[in-house]
């Protein structure tokens, strides 16, 4: 395999990344004859023969095991909550996966537990071949989110917002005095005092807009320090 792209290069759809008999398709690429080409606008990360593309933009695609933030949009079918998870496919939460405890919907009704417009921090349990998505709430840390503000962000910046070992998000939470949940599906939920939420939102917006730049952590640190002095 001959690597044609350079480390850090911005790739457009159609740009050749590598050529040869032994090229393999990776995420964000396709094979065109004997060339591996990019299919999305992305940044190339190349370590020897190890090639990875970092997408610049793009809608969220659901995978099993993803932690997501969703909004209950329908509670009309027996035993099912329908959840908008900020992507092309609606997700379903079955009542048996909605809690570790027994939920007595016969007695209290479905909306007693989750109702229209409510926000949940949940996990994708299964994605079928026809893109049917099942959620679960049966895990520690998964919960209904009350009294906060939602903000959308570019799902491709999820890792940058979290930071290495959650360092970035922990720093933002600590310095702004907020509680933040970040969904892999490009939604963040922030609670706290209004001014603190506003600050946290502004910081996440900057990471969202400039997440592909080196030295971002320093910039965010400075921004949060400035906020402290005031």
């Amino acid at each position: 395999m001959k690597v044609l792209a350079k480390e850090g290069q911005i790739l457009c759809p159609g740009d050749a990344i590598a050529s040869g008999e032994d090229i393999k398709e990776i995420e964000g690429t396709y094979i065109n004859g004997n060339e591996l080409c990019a299919s999305i606008v992305s940044k190339a990360s190349i370590k020897g023969d190890n090639i990875r593309l970092i997408a610049m933009k793009g809608a969220y695609l659901p995978y099993e095991g993803d932690y997501i933030i969703g909004k209950i949009i329908d509670v009309n079918a027996p035993n099912w909550y329908f959840v908008d998870i900020n992507c092309a496919y609606e997700a379903g939460l079955n009542i048996r996966d909605a809690s570790n405890q027994y939920l007595d919907t016969e007695r209290y009704g479905m909306t007693h537990y989750f109702s229209y417009g409510e926000v949940i921090f949940s996990r994708i349990q299964k994605v079928s071949d026809t893109m049917r998505i099942d959620l679960t709430m049966k895990e520690n840390g998964l919960m209904k989110l009350n009294g906060g503000v939602l903000m959308p962000f570019n799902p491709n910046k999820f890792a940058r917002i979290l930071g290495k070992d959650d360092s970035m998000i922990n720093m933002i939470q600590e310095k702004t005095n907020t509680k933040i949940f970040v969904g892999m599906n490009g939604l963040a939920w922030i609670s706290g005092k209004a001014l603190d939420i506003k600050k946290a939102k502004e910081v996440i917006e900057i990471i969202d807009a400039e997440g592909h730049i080196e030295g971002l952590t320093k910039k965010i640190e400075d921004m949060l320090k400035k906020g402290e002095k005031k």
Binding site: P13, G14, I40, A59, C87, A88
Partner: protein, 250 residues
């Protein structure tokens, strides 16, 4: 003198378009200056603005999202919708706002062209909508629209085979050339204008849009399309540069 003779004489005294040269002094193979930018509409997943000479088109992309209406969703691939809209004050005689027969047809041919560049099988049961607004029209608006739409789709992160350039090649009287202006489309001397908009996928070497209005010989048509493909390759370079410079400059 008979009428026929008068006509002959007129033809003799008239200089051909090839002889007089193009109205705006361009070479036959020369395109008008182009400007391109991406990502200026915050609500859209992707957006682009393209200026070709005096023609300006903007495109905005939403999705992939839930297909609506539900009964139109495609079980195994993406539902692509494309809307072409001519802004009422983009042309000298005001265009009536809203869809027309022309805008409906153009939306459809643009969609067919773009769909070839997209990996539609990656997005079953979902929908991408492309909205195009032609803000200023001086011929070639469907080609400017395709360039803008292709850039906007890439900006939205939709998986594609390649970016898709487009250009109107054609023939004015006896001159085969690219990127016709409105004044050239209105040039009715001699054989008059022939307008051939094409779109091209460079790394697949495929023509994805092809229309023709006018009168042209087989040989001249082949020549025009070849000239159009060369022009498309140039446009393609500028499209890539537009995307790169957005992320590289910072």
């Amino acid at each position: 003198m008979t009428a026929k003779k008068t006509e002959e004489k007129k033809t003799e005294s008239r200089k051909s378009y090839k002889a007089t040269g193009r109205i705006d002094k361009r070479k036959a193979t020369e395109m008008r200056p182009m400007e391109m930018s991406i990502g200026f509409l915050p609500n859209c997943a992707g957006s682009a603005r393209v200026k070709v000479g005096n023609t300006i088109a903007i495109a905005g992309v939403y999705g992939p999202k839930k297909a609506r209406p539900k009964h139109e969703e495609l079980k195994d691939k993406l539902l692509l919708r494309c809307y072409y809209d001519l802004v009422s004050f983009s042309v000298p005689d005001r265009a009536r706002p809203g869809p027309s027969r022309r805008s409906t047809e153009l939306g459809m041919v643009i969609k067919s062209a773009l769909e070839r560049s997209i990996f539609t099988e990656f997005y079953p049961r979902s929908m991408v909508e492309v909205f195009i607004e032609v803000v200023q029209a001086d011929a070639g608006s469907r080609c400017a629209s395709i360039i803008a739409a292709s850039l906007a789709l890439a900006d939205a992160g939709i998986e594609m085979r390649d970016l898709m350039p487009a250009v109107a090649c054609g023939k004015i009287d006896d001159l085969v050339c690219v990127d016709l202006t409105k004044a050239e489309e209105d040039y009715h001397e001699g054989e008059g204008p022939t307008d051939i908009p094409i779109a091209y996928l460079p790394n697949q070497d495929e023509i994805t849009l092809l229309q023709l209005d006018g009168k042209i010989s087989k040989e001249e048509l082949a020549q025009a399309i070849k000239m159009g493909i060369v022009a498309c390759k140039e446009i393609h370079k500028q499209m890539k540069q537009t995307i790169r410079s957005k992320y590289e400059k910072r």
